[in-house]
């Protein structure tokens, strides 16, 4: 019982309790409303309908979900590589910052939905256009957050390292980069929450497999409960990815949490 990990787990659960309770209440309300029959079931199925449809179509949905996850993970991985590379480049070369930063921000006004059909024309119906959509969605938050993190390095600490005779590269390696990790993870967490949806948008425009395709087909057949089930799976996958990144973050930058919350101080009661 005194195992600190157990206690931390219990604390984390208690912290989430209000959110879980609200979710349960909303689902219950929805279920009750559906029971009144005011809206036909094929327009708005009840949560239990969605659950049944999901269980029934689980086998059918699995390969679609796997395909979507493949597109997501590949796109995300490439976005991490590209985002980090650009952030580092922007940090090292001021000219690159002044050239790229405004364009990067402006590029975010382009609606991805409008771009997706073009990507099909350019890259065909295979994996590539979906990966590109995921990449476009994820690249920006990673690059900008990491660049801001690098740029936000404490100038006094940089001065200290310079006074010790550190080279530019040593300052980057030992101060700027480690100091930018929290910002990188913030960007990555934003990116993963959009990533699965990015893949689905890519699939809507043209694909033979994936949750996006599954949704379109179910919708065309008026299997509304199935559409909802696919939406729920999409959310679950996004949340799972998010939690994975959050766990990695805890492992990668424990000092950040120690500094922010002093949680490593174990009070002795």
């Amino acid at each position: 019982m005194n195992d600190p990990r157990w206690r931390q787990g219990a604390q984390a659960l208690r912290g989430r309790l209000p959110a879980l309770a609200l979710l349960a209440a909303l689902l219950a309300l929805w279920e009750l409303y559906a029971l009144t029959g005011l809206t036909p079931r094929w327009v708005l199925p009840s949560p239990s309908d969605v659950w049944r449809a999901g269980v029934e179509a689980a086998g059918l949905m699995a390969p679609h979900a796997a395909q979507t996850m493949l597109e997501t993970v590949v796109g995300l991985a490439l976005a991490i590589v590209g985002g980090l590379a650009l952030a580092v480049g922007i940090d090292l070369y001021d000219l690159l910052r002044r050239a790229m930063y405004p364009l990067l921000v402006a590029s975010q006004t382009i609606p991805i939905m409008a771009l997706a059909p073009l990507l099909i024309i350019w890259f065909g119906y295979g994996l590539l256009p979906k990966v590109v959509v995921v990449w476009l969605v994820c690249f920006f938050p990673i690059a900008i957050n990491t660049a801001d993190g690098l740029n936000g390095a404490d100038p006094d600490a940089t001065a200290l390292l310079r006074s010790m005779g550190a080279t530019r590269w040593q300052i980057f390696r030992k101060q700027r980069l480690p100091g930018a990790l929290p910002a990188f993870f913030t960007g990555l967490k934003i990116a993963v929450t959009y990533s699965v949806v990015g893949a689905i948008i890519g699939e809507w425009v043209g694909a033979s497999q994936g949750l996006g395709v599954f949704m379109l087909r179910a919708s065309n057949a008026f299997l509304t409960a199935r559409v909802f089930a696919a939406i729920a799976v999409t959310s679950l996958l996004s949340v799972a990815l998010f939690l994975l990144v959050a766990a990695l973050e805890r492992l990668a930058i424990p000092w950040y949490f120690a500094a922010a919350k002093r949680e490593q101080w174990e009070e002795i009661k």
């Binding site: 404490d154 006074s163 100091g179 120690a258 101080w265």
Partner: protein, 265 residues
């Protein structure tokens, strides 16, 4: 016959000659330092006191090479020192411990940058930890240290740079009175053991007298040396010396030079 690169024996470790520095702040030009000269001999402990904003930190930044003076010359071991970065040990006003590094990794930053092997640097640092009151905290993160421990860690980091000259910018400025008194005595112990030359900055006249061989008083902006005062108290210093008339007299002279009224009058 000594070659030009060899230190002249008896030359000051650090010498600032006629240093002036101005800053441009929002279109206005602020003169921070005007014709400041000082010398720090081998093994000497010199303290600068002065009101806030008179240019003390600017002076140290110039001495360690982070800033260049508008006029004047800096000499190390009697030789003009153009590129000074990495040649003197500088401890800034804030502790600036890197929050992601353990105490041990923070204090060995200097050797690490210089390419000393990790084991060697750690071995030496570990041997010094008890003296610095950090034993058992080698793997703690800066966020888990008290204010006094952070200052001691920052000081050990400065010491492990192994420079003959140490520039300490108000190392005890942010500490409570009690911790401050303890760390003053402790610093004298460390200094006696490592025999470096220290240029120390403080606002505290009592601290200045207790620690130093010489005290320099700086005038308000633009900073100038208004008074130089030798402290003829014997070493090792003891706290009770501060209550003797000679010492009280020194403090009063310093306060007067700082433009403060005689506190006992």
């Amino acid at each position: 016959m000594s070659r030009a690169t060899e230190p002249e024996s008896g030359a000051p470790k650090l010498e600032l000659r006629h240093i002036s520095k101005r800053f441009r702040v929002g279109g206005r030009v602020v003169a921070a330092l005007e014709d400041v000269s000082l010398a720090l001999g081998a093994g000497e402990f010199v303290t600068i006191v002065g009101p806030s904003g008179c240019g003390k930190s600017t002076l140290l930044n110039i001495a360690c090479g982070l800033l260049q003076p508008d006029a004047g010359e800096i000499r190390l071991d009697g030789q003009p020192a153009g590129e000074r970065l990495g040649k003197v040990a500088y401890m800034p006003q804030r502790d600036l411990l890197l929050p992601w590094r353990s105490v041990l990794d923070n204090v060995t930053l200097g050797p690490e940058l210089a390419g000393v092997s990790r084991e060697e640097a750690r071995r030496e640092a570990l041997a010094d930890l008890p003296l610095f009151g950090l034993e058992g905290f080698e793997h703690a993160l800066p966020a888990q240290l008290s204010g006094g421990m952070k200052q001691r860690a920052a000081l050990l980091r400065t010491l492990l740079l192994h420079r003959e000259v140490m520039l300490l910018d108000e190392p005890f400025g942010a500490l409570d009175a009690l911790t401050r008194l303890q760390l003053q005595e402790w610093l004298l112990g460390v200094w006696a053991r490592f025999r470096t030359s220290i240029l120390f900055i403080t606002h505290d006249v009592e601290e200045a007298v207790f620690l130093s061989d010489r005290v320099l008083v700086m005038s308000p902006r633009p900073g100038r040396i208004a008074l130089e005062l030798a402290v003829p108290l014997p070493r090792p210093r003891a706290r009770h010396m501060c209550d003797e008339p000679e010492c009280i007299g020194l403090r009063e002279k310093l306060l007067e030079a700082l433009g403060l009224d005689n506190p006992s009058g």
